[in-house]
Structure formats: C-alpha cells, structure tokens
Amino acid sequence: MFANFTEAMLELFVTSLWETIVMVGISGVVGALLGIPLGVFLRLTDHGGVLENGPVNKLVGWVVNAVRSTPFIILLVAIIPLTRFVTGSSIGTAAAVVPLTIAAAPFVARLVESALREVDHGLVEAAQAMGATTSQIVWKVLLPEALPGIVAGLTITFVSLTGYSAMAGAIGGGGLGDLGIRYGYQRFLPEIMLAVVLVLIFFVQAVQSLGDWAVRKLSHR
C-alpha cells in the first residue's frame, strides 16, 4: 500500500502543505485586518453602541451577510476579475488567496462583533464617565476586553479557511485538498486521499490547540 508514496509523491505533499499554509495564513491575516475593523464598526453602530446608527448598520450588515451566504465555490469564480486585478492572474495559489480573503473578512467581522457584544456595557459606561473618546473606548476597553473572544474567533476562521482552501483547486490554487482530489479521487489512489485527510486533521488540531492556548493566556476573567 505504501508503494505509491514515492519520493516525488512526498515532495508533492510538502509542496501542497506549504500551499495550504500560504493560502490559509495570508487570507486569515488579511481577512482579520479587514474583518476586525468591520466587526468593531458593526458593534459601534448597532443598537446601544457608542455610534448607534441603524440604517448604516443594517446596510453594512446586509453586505456582510450577502458575502457570507455566497457558496465559496461560486465566490471563487465570481470574483475572477477582481482576482486578476489584484494578483495579475486568475489561477494559482496567489490567485486563490483573494477569494479566501474576501470570504474570511465578513466571517471574522461577525465573530468579532459577537465577541465585542460580550463586553459588559457597564465598562463602556465607566469609560465614558471618565471622559473617554470613542477611539479610546475601542482601543482601551472594547478590544482588550474582547481579545480572548477575538482570538477564539480567529482560530475558528483559520480552521474554516483550511476547509475552504480545498476548493482552491478549482482555480489551480493547489494545496492539500486539491492533492487529495486529484490523486486520491481522480487517479484512484485512496491511500493518498487518506494521507491527505490525516495531515489535515493534524494541521487543524495544531491550529486549534495553539488558539486555545492563546485564549487561556489572554483571559483573566
């Protein structure tokens, strides 16, 4: 059964794992950089927020929901013009990062919004009573207090992105999921498929454990 695990095959595994790490890592980080401010904005403009603004909140919320409800495989091809504009190509690992990022940002935004919602309004009130500005409330109160929840949300995001990245093969993004489909399914090599799944399981476990550890370190509740 191990006859198929030639040196070339192992090399392919290493390359694919690296592609997965690149796709998930970059889209996760950039998605967080876009999603965290978006989540803060959603929270601040929501009912009871410091910058309460119903219509704006509803509009942004609607856009966020729209992106989140689009199946990833459709998003992947639907935004090809944007992908080509950003990366110069519509295929390859770099090209896959664009739709992954677009999918990650609203996901992060909703998770951040709910983490911020967990921060007791009394703390915001206390900061206001001290004469805090809105940006001070965000930087000194909301974000530090919600940090464990935000990190937990980012962990979920990275795990979900790992799943999404399997679909990146559709535009030649590579990665472990693509390897599994092409070799395991299309070339009838089930042991390759199994190996891919096992590697992914360990990958996700590692991400989750790292996230849990960080949350424990950050939480003082």
Binding site: G122, E125, A129, G131, E145
Partner: protein, 351 residues
Amino acid sequence: MIHLRGITQTYQGSQGPVEALRGIDLQITPGEVFGIIGRSGAGKSSLVRVINLLNRPTRGEVIVNGRDLTKLNDSQLREARRDIGMVFQHFNLLSSRTVYDNVALPLELAGMDKAAIRERVSPLLELVGLAALADRYPAQISGGQKQRVGIARALASRPKVLLSDEATSALDPETTRSILDLLRQVNRELGLTVVLITHQMQVIKQVADRVAVIDAGQIVEQGRVLDVFTRPQQPITKSLIDEILPQELPASVLQHVHQLASQLRTTAPGHVGQLLRLSYSGDNAYQPVLSRMVREYGVDMSILHGQVDEIQDQTFGSLALYATGEPARLNGAVEHLRASGVEVQVVESGR
C-alpha cells in the same frame, strides 16, 4: 456645586412615552454627602447619570462646578467629566487589566505619562488599602476589594464630585460598612462632594448629611438626615425608614397595652392610662426628661418599646410608654415633655 433644575426625562417605551424623571430640582452643596434614596424603578439610577450626562435629560439644566453640562460640546463634556468620578454597583473594572492598571486607566485616557501616573496611582492604592494587590487581576480579588479599586479609579483624576451608583448593593453588610467608611473618609480628607444613590436606608443613615427621597421620578421629600429620620413626612419615606427603625408598634405591645388598661380599672379607679410615643434627638437625648416627669407629675410609666440610635454622632431615639395617673397630671406631664423638646404622640387613651 451641583444644581439640577427642572430635570425631565422622557423615553419611548413599548406603550408610548414613559416619564422617568419628572421635574427634579436639587441643590447639592460643596463638601457634603448627599444621599438619594428610592425603591427600584423610582428613577434614581437615571437621576445620578444625569449629573455626568451619561443620561441626557429631555429638559432641564445640569450645573456642575458652575457650568451647565447640557450646553457643552463633546470635547468640553469629556473634560468636565474628568472632574466627576463615578463608582458603580457592579464595579465595572476591566478584567484584562490589573488593579494598578485599572486605577491608571482614567489617567491614561487623559494622556498622562507613565511616571506621572505611577506617582498618582501608588498613593491611591495606599489610601484604599490595596497596595499589596496592585498586580492582581479583578477576578482574583473579593467584591469589597473590587469596589475599593473602583473608588481609587474614580479618585484618580482628582475629581471634585464623586457619584456612587448603588456602590454597596452587591456587598455583604460588613463590607458595605467598610466601603461606606472609605467614602466618608475621602469626603472628609479630600473635601469631595459625594452623591450616592441607594435603596438602603442603612446606607443613608451611615454616611449621608442630607437625603432626598425619590418616588416615581419626583423628589418627594428632602432634608437633613436626622430630620428626615425623626420626622418623616411621606408614606414612602416612612416605609423606607421602617426597614431599619420600625415605625409601627409590634402587635404584642398593643396587646400588652390593652391588658394594662383593663388592670387599671380595678387597681386604680380614677386614673387614666395613655400610650405615648416619644421621639427625641440631639442634645435633649441626654436630659433626664423622663425621671423629672415621673418625679414632678407623679405619674407612673412602663416602657413598652424603644430604640436609641445614632446618625453622625447625633443621638436620636423613640420610646413607647404607657403612662398612668390622674387625668390632669397626665396632661401636665405630656406638656412638660413637649416643652423639653420631645415630640409626643398620644396614640391611645386607655380607659
């Protein structure tokens, strides 16, 4: 110091507009501890939040340190709020910051540098007795300690006014006492004006100089604490005081009175009995009023019920007596008591 004029607050409830505050006028003088008491839902939380404009009134003026806060722009208001410290029922400490960093927060917000912050925070932690716990997180300290952090934080920006929103309601009686002592201490040592709201008369009795009673969004009674305690006017005030100083005589005492009255008919015909309720306060608490009454008017008395208490070093008490004697002498005795500054209420003539 603080002057509220015509404060009205209306908000939209599910069944039309609700008036939370209805035309409140209050004047709080510098350096006093002013208590606002009321049942839950009376509007006291809304009222205390009006003073630093966390709650913007629909109508009315909020004058603090000579400025009408409702007329300030956002940045002027933030500046003005630094002169008004606030402590909360649920402490509202940041769980992500240590005790030290929580106290430092208002100073960070004001843009003070690290060295200056340290100079300010360390003595405050000493003042509230938490210097040893500076590096703990709020989750690692007790409720009373958390409120001490809350007080230190409120004092950090050296405010002139301290607002206390049910600061002791989540604490046990002993911790409540120590927190109130601390509030009294900062009031005296720092000359701070303290406005505290509570639903517990005990709190008012222990620390307040003056008290206002709020009911259904209106101030129904206010005055010096001793006066309000000894001569409550409104039913709501009486019932609030009743919780710590029962105003009604227990049923067993009334039964005893009936017994004494019926005995009187057989043992001393021609004598009458009267149930008297005396209340007294201040200096006359120390006069031998009762023994003089017995000696000079030849009346007998049994003490049925009574209590003596103290509000800020002023003794006050109430007694229920059953006095018997010839009608004229009994009346004379009552007049004598009244002339001595004791308030006398004749509850029942027992014949």
